[in-house]
């Protein structure tokens, strides 16, 4: 998980990536599950550095969606810090 946790710029990246796909994309932590296409949802996940999130995709393009989302997280959202 990147340095700043899931902050606004990072959240925007996540949502934009997820919204490209037809499939449903879910992100969850221990407390809740949210639709990764919803910026409010992703922000409410309030993930801070070090949290483990689970990613789930479901639908016609679920594998592309999954890899794309993985890439977004792995690239640390392009944050400067």
């Amino acid at each position: 998980m990147n340095v700043l946790g899931l902050h606004a710029r990072a959240s925007s990246e996540v949502v934009r990536a997820a919204s490209r796909f037809e499939s449903k994309v879910w992100l969850s932590n221990s407390a809740r599950q949210v639709n990764a296409k919803s910026i409010m949802g992703v922000m409410m996940l309030a993930a801070t550095q070090g949290t483990t999130l689970q990613l789930r995709t479901e639908g016609a393009d679920e594998s592309e969606a999954f890899s794309a989302m993985e890439e977004v997280f792995n690239n640390r959202f392009g944050e400067d810090e």
Binding site: A8, S11, S12, V15, S38, I39, M40, M43, M44, A46
Partner: protein
């Protein structure tokens, strides 16, 4: 047609459609609709969401390259919020379940979200609640526009529109900066509040301190703002409109005429050379300063770089901005961070512990000595910029010599650090201070010995000395630059500077007002720093003034305890040169 009155800021006349910023309708009462109207309400909601998104996207497209990156990021997040499926779905569900109208459903959803955000432990994320509020407010605003079928389509063309609001924070004005508004009109504010200073910097007129009258102005109505008289004319009739247009043209013509003299030297009739410098806030101000004939920058307010963003600007970003200004204007006095009071950093919003009276609290140099890391970065950036021109470093809000000594020792450390890194800078950078706290003005001779130069900040000096809150328009009437205490303090600082051979400048609003120019010359002031737009007119007064002859009358004004008599004497002083002017 009717008139509203407040305090005029800046100069000139603007005419345009009113762009009213509604306050949050969070507290509005709930309105229900019949079940047959539910689908209509959902349609209204969808239309509003679409239009809000379009409007935000348009603004996003207009954010200039030079703006802080955070502005674009913050707009992007808002665009995503408006298009968030959850926002729409949740609101639609509320409409259906409760038979609420779209606005009420939106408010209820906003309240639900607010609760969730409040629970969050992370300060930053909790502050996102404000973003949610802003977005919801914009959607509400769209709905209002939609209902007003006859209203002009404002969001597609803000050029020349007149911003009407209850109040504008400095951060708001930066946000609206690129929208080419024609003028500002606010309920709150005073001629020396930051909104006013920014209106000056944007070269547009404003009328502030309308005390609630703003509610009489309907969105889209044509209004005229006359900064000279402090009036707002709502829905002017043709005759009045013609007169205003003529006066506006006259004002512009006169301003252009004065600009034609920009290369003339500001010398008084008794051959005293006066320095007329510019106050700048943003790097974009540089062109305007050059255009108006500024000889340099007497005050570079660095706070704007720190506002309306989440993360404090790093040294490199600051360096780029400072270097740009120094390269363009050659002689620049950079003031270190003066945050606090009515200029809060948005990203540093604190929940809870807000100082009761920020003007007297931890701000400016005090804040910097507490956040030494931030202070050092800024000093490094300032010193690095000194490689490109003549830079002076100025410390705001000095009140005692111990803090000055601390500052000087930090500056020494910074210089040694730069030396060890082989970074180029000008070792002869002068370090001066703003004399704005009465304690410093009274003991100016002590400060004059330790500083390379002094700059009188009359805005705050008047506030502190007369005990009036700069942004409280209830006590604005007490703001009196002619008060004997102020004149004595100004003279004291100038005398202290002269005694110790240190230059003294004045950078408050008093410097930009023609009615005080001769008075200040008579007090011995030779360096004025002001909003660039005021330079041509001040120069004209300087060229028609005899500083030596002004001194005796100035002494009489200083000795006078009756405010009416003082004003009369000032008028006499200002008319003194009238016959001389006729000969130039």
């Amino acid at each position: 047609m009717f008139y509203l009155h407040g305090a005029g800021v800046g100069a000139g006349i603007a005419i345009g459609p009113a762009y009213v910023i509604q306050q949050s309708v969070v507290g509005a009462a709930v309105r229900r609709v019949d079940s047959e109207q539910i689908d209509d309400e959902i349609q209204r909601l969808d239309r509003a969401l679409l239009n809000t998104s379009k409007s935000l996207e348009k603004t996003r497209g207009e954010v200039p390259e030079s703006a802080p990156k955070e502005i674009a990021a913050f707009l992007d997040a808002h665009i995503l919020m408006v298009n968030d499926p959850m926002l729409r779905d949740a609101t639609v569900e509320i409409i259906r379940e409760n038979c609420f109208c779209a606005e009420s459903a939106l408010t209820m959803h906003r309240n639900q979200l607010a609760e969730i955000f409040e629970e969050m432990e992370d300060d930053y994320l909790r502050s996102k609640k404000d973003d949610v509020d802003q977005v919801i407010q914009q959607i509400h605003h769209q709905m209002l526009l939609q209902d007003d079928a006859d209203g002009p389509d404002m969001d597609n063309n803000l050029d020349g529109a007149i911003l009407v609001a209850h109040d504008l924070t400095p951060a708001d004005t930066v946000q609206f900066m690129k929208m080419r508004m024609g003028a500002f009109v606010t309920n709150l504010g005073s001629p020396i509040s930051h909104v006013a200073i920014l209106a000056n910097s944007l070269k547009i007129p404003a009328v502030v301190g309308l005390h609630g009258a703003v509610r009489h102005i309907a969105h889209g109505t044509t209004i005229a703002v006359d900064a000279g008289t402090g009036s707002v004319i709502v829905d002017p009739d043709q005759e009045t409109l013609d007169e205003l247009i003529a006066r506006r043209a006259e004002h512009e013509r006169r301003h252009d005429e004065l600009l034609a003299f920009k290369d003339q030297e500001p010398i008084t009739l008794d051959r005293e050379r006066i320095a007329l410098l510019a106050n700048v806030e943003l790097r974009e101000d540089v062109e305007h300063a050059l255009h108006c004939g500024a000889m340099g920058v007497g005050l570079y307010r660095t706070e704007y770089l720190f506002m309306n963003r989440v993360h404090l600007p790093a040294e490199e970003e600051q360096f780029q901005d400072y270097a740009h200004v120094v390269k363009s204007l050659k002689q620049v006095t950079i003031r270190t961070l003066d945050l606090g009071a009515d200029k809060q950093v948005d990203g540093g919003r604190k929940q809870g512990k807000v100082a009761i009276n920020p003007a007297l609290g931890l701000r400016a140099v005090r804040f910097c000595l507490r956040s030494v890391g931030t202070f050092r970065s800024q000093l490094r950036a300032i010193y690095r910029a000194s490689a490109f021109g003549e830079v002076q470093c100025m410390i705001p809000m000095l009140s005692n010599l111990d803090e000055l000594k601390q500052v000087l020792s930090i500056i020494d450390e910074v210089k040694r650090q730069l030396d060890s890194e082989n970074v180029v800078y000008d070792p002869s950078v002068k370090v001066g201070g703003m004399i704005e706290v009465p304690a410093a003005a009274i003991t100016a001779d002590q400060f004059a010995q330790e500083l390379d130069f002094l700059s009188i900040g009359t805005n705050d000096l008047i506030q502190y000395t007369l005990a009036i809150d700069r942004v409280d328009d209830e006590v604005n009437y007490l703001y009196d630059p002619l008060h004997s205490s102020i004149l004595r303090l100004v003279k004291n600082v100038i005398d202290a500077g002269n005694k110790h051979g240190k230059p003294v400048s004045l950078c408050g609003e008093m410097a930009s007002d023609v009615i005080y120019t001769r008075l200040l010359l008579g007090l011995g002031l030779r360096i004025f720093s002001m909003d660039p737009g005021a330079i041509p007119e001040i120069k004209q007064v300087v060229r028609t003034s005899d500083a030596g002859k002004a001194a005796p009358l100035v002494d009489r004004i200083m000795a006078c305890s009756d405010s009416a008599v003082r004003e009369g004497l000032l008028q006499t002083l200002n008319e003194q040169g009238a016959s001389a002017a006729a000969h130039t």
